[in-house]
């Protein structure tokens, strides 16, 4: 007789706990057969998708919206769910060891200055300001405003942005665009062939008109254009796609019929005429009397820039709103998918297993129906832990009882400390339950350990089984369990999920969630 069985007897005897329902008991290999959509190798159905890089999903909410750029067009190609979850919609870029978690850590803890990298998420053009913001801790919006002011005031600084774009590598990459641009002979030749005569001509014309300072302003602008062309030619594919999809439209030059282009030309001509008028006024300002003229000239220059750039600004704004809406929609969808997975799909799997026990089926179906109704019509999320609990320990206890009752596995709970539940911690508990259920389904063991520790600024939660384990890298990417229910859930609130497992060595899901309400 095993100790385990004895323990159960004893429990009943003491009336502490319900006996696990026999209909749901044998979940080891039987479980596999009845779950056709998930042909996974071993425990933690979940686990796999999240390997060492799991933490990258943790995008700090404080960064503000990622660049305008992240339209929906490319998301179609990206796989739903795996890898890039709540941040960067689908840039298939290589990532270095400096993942977001580290950055976030710095953000919270030390605001340490780190090597400058262009930000792939927080970008309008090249992500330079986003990178500066990340390195210094200053809000990106202020960095951008500062950049524009300095550029306008000095003129020469206009060139600084394209140069930074060219020279500073993207986050997670070691090469900059310059490394590739330098070998782009054709691009350099073309740019030089156009720029050099243009610059010479401009210099000649402006100096003959005795306004050579206008020429000096022209230099950085023209050079910037040249550098930008080189960037565009030599950016890596994902960045180039970004430029094509999200920067080019800002120029209003992406419409296929000639209309858009003609309109752009008209705008530029009108703007240039106004600017010429303004410059003429400025130039004459120092020879003739009117002290008001320079002001009028400045106004004209501003008007010119509004005429030329106004539509860009508008579309920038529109895109920003559209992008926000798209993101909210995606998030809602993910939340819904996670709920349905946890409740309806879970129940369906249980019903399949209990198909020879009509009473059990009826019970499961009834419970599920009630939950679903509560969710659809009363807005209570189904199967969510913590509705009845206000403290973490209560929530963990609820988790333990639910999983033990539904899945016939013993859940051994160890708690250190306790704290009130908030939305983020409820999400953490939901994720933990999912991990526990996964262990029940796949580990082949009859016991799983849950350890929760409340620290000053984080809550750590470990779900460990000593079952058959699996290779986290070998599990297919489309496994809903780990991606949506565990990782995305905690990532939504700034938490992380890491899975440690190897065949034959059990599995451990390590969850952590920053606490909103710190201990004083």
């Amino acid at each position: 007789m095993s100790l385990m069985a004895l323990r159960r007897q004893r429990r009943d005897h003491r009336g502490i706990e319900e006996a696990p329902d026999p209909g749901t008991r044998p979940l080891t290999d039987g479980g596999r057969a009845t779950n056709p959509s998930t042909p996974a190798p071993g425990s933690g159905a979940a686990a796999a998708a999240v390997s060492a890089t799991a933490t990258e999903g943790a995008s700090p909410p404080s960064w503000g919206p990622p660049g305008v750029a992240f339209g929906n067009s490319r998301r179609k190609n990206g796989r739903w769910g795996e890898g890039h979850w709540s941040h960067s919609y689908g840039h298939p870029r290589p990532r270095g060891p400096s993942s977001h978690t580290d950055d976030r850590h710095h953000h919270h803890v030390g605001r340490k200055l780190r090597a400058l990298r262009r930000s792939p998420d927080n970008r309008v053009l090249g992500g330079v300001c986003g990178g500066v913001s990340r390195a210094t801790g200053i809000d990106a919006m202020w960095v951008r405003i500062g950049f524009v002011l300095v550029a306008v005031a000095s003129g020469v600084m206009v060139l600084a942005y394209p140069l930074a774009w060219l020279l500073v590598p993207m986050e997670g990459q070691t090469d900059n665009i310059y490394a590739r641009a330098i070998s782009d002979r054709r691009g350099i030749r073309t740019v030089a062939a156009i720029l050099v005569p243009l610059l010479i001509a401009m210099q000649l014309i402006t100096s003959s008109l005795h306004v050579s300072f206008v020429g000096f302003l022209g230099w950085p602008t023209f050079l910037s254009v040249g550098v930008l062309v080189l960037i565009w030619r030599n950016a890596d594919p994902s960045e180039k796609a970004f430029i094509d999809d999200d920067v080019m439209p800002l120029l209003g030059a992406d419409t296929d019929d000639g209309k858009g282009r003609r309109r752009l030309m008209a705008r530029v001509v009108a703007g240039l005429l106004i600017a010429a008028g303004g410059i003429a006024l400025l130039v004459e300002g120092h020879t003739t009397v009117a002290a008001l003229r320079p002001v009028g000239g400045a106004a004209l220059v501003i008007a010119a820039s509004v005429v030329i750039f106004g539509p860009w600004w508008l579309s920038l704004f529109r895109d920003l709103i559209a992008e926000r809406q798209a993101r909210a929609l995606a998030e809602e969808r993910a939340q819904m998918a996670a709920h349905v997975h946890d409740s309806v799909l879970q129940t369906l799997a249980l019903i399949q297993r209990a198909s020879d026990d009509p009473q059990q089926v009826v019970r499961l179906a009834r419970t599920q129906e009630r939950e679903l109704r509560a969710w659809l019509f009363e807005g209570r999320s189904p199967g969510a832990i913590g509705e009845d609990a206000s403290l973490l320990a209560e929530g963990v206890g609820l988790l333990q009882r639910q999983v033990e009752a539904d899945h016939g596995i013993a859940v051994q709970v160890v708690m250190v400390g306790d704290c009130p539940l908030d939305e983020a911690l409820r999400a953490l508990l939901d994720a933990a339950r999912e991990a526990t259920v996964n262990a029940a389904k796949w580990s082949g063991e009859d016991q799983v350990s849950v350890y929760a520790e409340v620290e000053a600024d984080t809550v750590m939660l470990y779900v460990r089984d000593r079952g058959r384990g699996f290779d986290p890298d070998a599990v297919p990417e489309d496994r809903q369990g780990i991606t949506q229910s565990i990782r995305a859930r905690v990532a939504r609130f700034g938490g992380t999920a890491v899975v440690r497992s190897a065949p034959g060595e059990g599995a451990e899901v390590q969850l952590s969630m920053p606490r909103r309400e710190r201990v004083k």
Binding site: L6, Q412, V414, V416, E453, Y462
Partner: protein, 229 residues
């Protein structure tokens, strides 16, 4: 657990061949279960199902390890510890209980048990625990490790009047306990921290000593909070 050599720990050999075990447990079914699990690897020298009989028989037979149920008719495990240890400090006690309740944990440990395991433990792990205790080491279940972390939690600076030797856990001890609380075996703890299982044992023993000797305010408060002492 079938054969006598199966799963024997290399790190904690019994003092003299098979350890002599005494079972104190009021459930006959459970006693039979433990006997079956331990098999021939130990020598069960006696059994008792209540405190008074247990004290008498243990003092007479002086086993290496007493497997002690915390809940007993006639005084509980606490009474057995109090009745035996003052006269026979060489007898080691390993508390074994179905209860996960914290008051049981602190009670028997403070009374002098060398370890606390719950009955969910597997046969080989139980045997391992028996050998550890027989060798004078401590045995912590995840539950007990969690309790110690909780009771020794460092909130702010240590209170004045505390002996830092006794009333604080070293960072290493904390790490070891945390892994045990997560369900790791000593061997797995050692592998994870790149130390030997023997070192893990010495950390755990040192924690046990602190647990028994500490006058730490939190320890008392912790127990009081849960209506103990």
């Amino acid at each position: 657990m079938t054969g006598p050599t199966d799963g024997l720990p290399v790190t904690a050999p019994a003092p003299s061949g098979r350890p002599r075990i005494f079972l104190v447990e009021d459930h006959a079914v459970f006693r039979a279960g433990v006997r079956a699990e331990l098999g021939n690897a130990v020598d069960v020298v006696g059994e008792a199902d209540e405190a008074a009989a247990a004290i008498e028989l243990i003092s007479e037979r002086l086993p290496d390890v007493v497997l002690l149920d915390v809940h007993l008719p006639g005084g509980g495990g606490h009474a057995v510890l109090g009745g035996v240890l003052p006269h026979h400090p060489e007898v080691q006690f390993l508390a074994l209980s179905v209860s996960d309740a914290p008051e049981d944990v602190i009670d028997v440990i403070r009374a002098g048990a060398r370890g606390y395991i719950t009955k969910t433990i597997s046969g080989p792990e139980l045997l391992q625990a028996v050998y550890r205790v027989a060798a004078g080491d401590a045995v912590f279940s995840p539950r007990l490790a969690g309790f110690v972390l909780d009771a020794f939690a460092q909130v702010g600076a240590p209170a004045p009047g505390l002996d830092p030797e006794l009333d604080q856990l070293s960072p290493r001890e904390r790490e070891v306990l945390r892994l045990i609380a997560r369900g790791y075996t000593y061997k797995e703890v050692g592998r994870d921290l790149s130390i030997s299982a023997k070192t893990v044992e010495s950390h755990v023993s040192s924690v046990l000593r602190k647990l028994q000797l500490s006058t730490r305010h939190e320890l008392t408060r912790w127990a009081t909070d849960r209506r103990l002492v």
